[in-house]
Subunit: 459 residues, 2 copies
């Protein structure tokens, strides 16, 4: 396919790389207080980038933390509006000694640009700038009105995004969100994302004696809180790997056979789970493939457990208390608060009277998110990705939880499609992060085609 806008992009690949190079040089680490000024410098750089690309009403929106950057282009009269989301903050680069080139002095090697934030998410953000510029400069205008929301706190959990969206609900109002913080399956193989898992997290505290007891003097006469906690945790899973909490699966939507078949066709998923985890054998709920279990089945995981003497050497005590941190990944249509209630009931039922158990639920929660494979925007994106990359995209899920997508759903009432270039081997959050440049350029073309085509399917 060739159009004036795509031609523009093809003629400006070098400018895109220069732009990305410039952007990556700013160490906008949102989690590093000393670099607060650099995060703001990146926001200002973005203001300038949006201005050059043709954005309007550009504004730095302050939050309690790092600011977000807003811009829009609202000249597609009576057409729908699309909110483009990305983030300009990055993870810390440590350990520095493992980088082959400095994290903030980008270097291109073998078609890849290396640097912290290269793929997560500065390539995505610059692709949005290039896409806007290409459409405006080529005269092949966006078919929809565009709003941009570039966040500066994604890497620290988007702590102030909810408040920002609530405060500026009107400003961000749109019909669909397009995230440029998305993933690509592998070089040459695109993907679409049909859903993400939700999450809840909490802590179980079991307490017994009012101080650590001498195991010689009291051993045999009191229930050991660490053992009571272990039994409680053991009761959560049945021998088939299913969660044995009453009601846990009640609201889980079974995936349609067609979508399961699509998943089954994706090659190499088990091999990569094995290779990337380093386990000798996969394990989980009977009746589902490993990749299904990470994408479309809910989980209960212990994230940490602590009790009594954990230092070197021997201390023969009965610990006074024991704590476990856990998190659940949820899938459509599980409701976080209903699952919390199920867990609370389970803990109450499985705590012997000789100890006390307390359940604390953490404030961070995310609803599961799913977007039908036949949603018009998905169908369009699938068609575009196939035409640009020459291969039908895999229909994938994300096992993790992306708070922003849940917020767009909850606060703005809109779905999100993802167009992104991060391949799982791009060293996200690790030394030697890189973006594969050809994938970035083709991804930018896909974004242009999407923004050019969305008006028809959304109307």
């Amino acid at each position: 396919m060739s159009t004036a806008a795509l031609e523009y992009l093809r003629n400006h690949r070098e400018s895109h790389i220069s732009l990305l190079d410039e952007f990556v040089r700013i160490p906008s680490q949102s989690g590093t207080p000393e670099l607060k000024g650099e995060v703001r410098r990146a926001a200002k750089w973005l203001v300038e980038g949006l201005r050059k690309a043709g954005g309007e009403n550009i504004e730095i929106l302050d939050t309690k933390g790092h600011p977000a950057v807003y811009a829009d282009w609202l000249h597609a009269e009576s057409a729908p509006t699309v909110l483009i989301y990305g983030h300009y903050d990055v993870q810390p680069p440590e350990p520095l000694e493992l980088w082959e080139s400095p994290p903030y002095a980008p270097e291109v090697r073998e078609g890849k640009l290396f640097g912290r934030g290269a793929t997560d998410d500065k390539a995505g953000v610059t692709s949005a700038l290039l896409a806007l510029e290409a459409m405006l400069k080529s005269g092949e205008l966006p078919s929809v009105n565009l709003k941009f929301c570039f966040e500066g706190e994604e890497e620290t959990g988007s702590a102030n995004l909810e408040a920002l969206l609530l405060e500026h609900r009107e400003r961000f109002a749109a019909d669909l969100a397009v995230s440029v913080d998305g993933a690509h399956w592998s070089v040459g193989q695109p993907q679409v994302v049909l859903g993400l898992r939700g999450a809840i997290a909490g802590e179980i505290l079991v307490s017994g004696p009012d101080h650590d007891l001498h195991s010689g003097l009291f051993g045999g006469a009191v229930l050991n809180p660490a053992e009571a906690l272990c039994s409680l945790i053991a009761s959560v899973r049945d021998p088939n790997g299913r969660i044995a909490i009453d009601g846990f699966y009640d609201d889980v939507l079974e995936l349609p056979a067609k979508e399961r078949e699509a998943i089954a066709k994706i090659p190499g998923t088990e091999e990569s789970l094995l290779a990337e985890s380093g386990v000798s054998e996969l394990y989980g709920e009977a009746g589902y493939s490993p990749i299904e279990r990470t994408w479309v089945r809910p989980t209960f995981e212990i994230n940490g457990i602590c009790s009594g003497h954990t230092e070197a050497g021997l201390k023969t005590i009965i610990p006074a208390h024991a704590t476990a941190k856990f998190s659940c990944r949820l899938v459509a249509n599980q409701d976080p608060s209903r699952i919390v209630a199920c867990i609370r009931r389970h803990v109450e039922r499985h705590t012997p009277t000789a100890v006390k158990a307390e359940l604390k639920i953490m404030p961070v929660q995310a609803n599961p998110y799913s977007m039908r494979a036949d949603h018009p925007a998905n169908l369009l994106l699938i068609e575009i990705l196939e035409s640009v990359f020459g291969r039908a995209p895999y229909q994938a899920w994300i096992g993790g939880s992306v708070p922003v997508i849940d917020m767009f759903q909850q606060i703005l009432g809109i779905d999100t499609v993802s167009v992104g270039f991060s391949i799982s081997n791009c060293n996200l959050h690790a030394p030697n992060e890189f973006v594969h440049l050809e994938t970035m350029h083709l991804g930018t073309e896909s974004l242009v085609l999407l923004l050019r085509g969305l008006a028809t399917v959304l109307s």
Copy 2:
């Protein structure tokens, strides 16, 4: 009862208190490297004390750590030999602000002498000195030959005592040991100790992934090592509170009905277990009373457990590994190495193939120890305690493990009877430690009567 030796003691109660006062002033903390010189000063003080009391062949025996002090009196021709054991080192006194009088400036209040080490074990050691002095000065000589072994490392685990006993096996050869590091039930109520539990300790390490995994990306596909460890620990106990490790109880001697009856007659044991532990409800193996479970039944206790994220806040990982420290209390005739083998088999059988489990056994082990209630030395001691205190002693066990008694059994082949004054409310190892002086004086009389009478029953 009145004899010349007892009269001597009654006329020298003030000297005993002065001696104890002087001894307590030496901060002989074996666990505090800066006070190494003070520990040696206490050993030298003891050399002088033994000399004044009439001890012979007095010697400081060096070890890799703090020294032991040896002395003897071997003039009971063709009579058996008794080894008197005590320790002159003390626990650190911290937290100092909780002491009502300074730990190393003893103060007598309401018939109690307060100070670090007062009851554990300096009263015991001085009572041995006074007993020797009383017998030699009154002319009512010991009926047995006496050897003294005063250790300087009891509070740090008697780490060098085994080597010392092995090196000086001949010197310490005896027919019976008498420990002055013993306990007294309550003011006016003596006890004899019929046994101690043995112990083994170890660590179970469960490992799975080769690094902590993102619970969103991998949750559902791999077995969580923390959960596998919890299930393994949960499998150790059955719903009746019995240890469910095959073979664990095979060698356990059931207590004769008569001894169980004697235990059942001791009043207030449940109340004090409840009060001292702070639990709302006792718990344990069905079919045995709580105090029996702490004295004469074996246990498996988790001492500590650690895995994954244990700091504040949220980190939604699947931990790469999980560790639990455990210890078992053993009773006659359980053999530590057989129990280790049972545990090893249990761990192997209950570890799913999707994780690996490693069992590490710590080098410290103690055999269970028991001394028949009708052992002639016990019968004599029971008779003496009843005559001195006016009440039949309780027949008690100690749920903990005292390495030295096991060493005497293993290395010297001798039993140990305990004559001591520590009441459980004497704040052993805690601020405001004290010894109840009347109990100390009567205990010293009991010791004299025992050493005067043992020749007959041991011959």
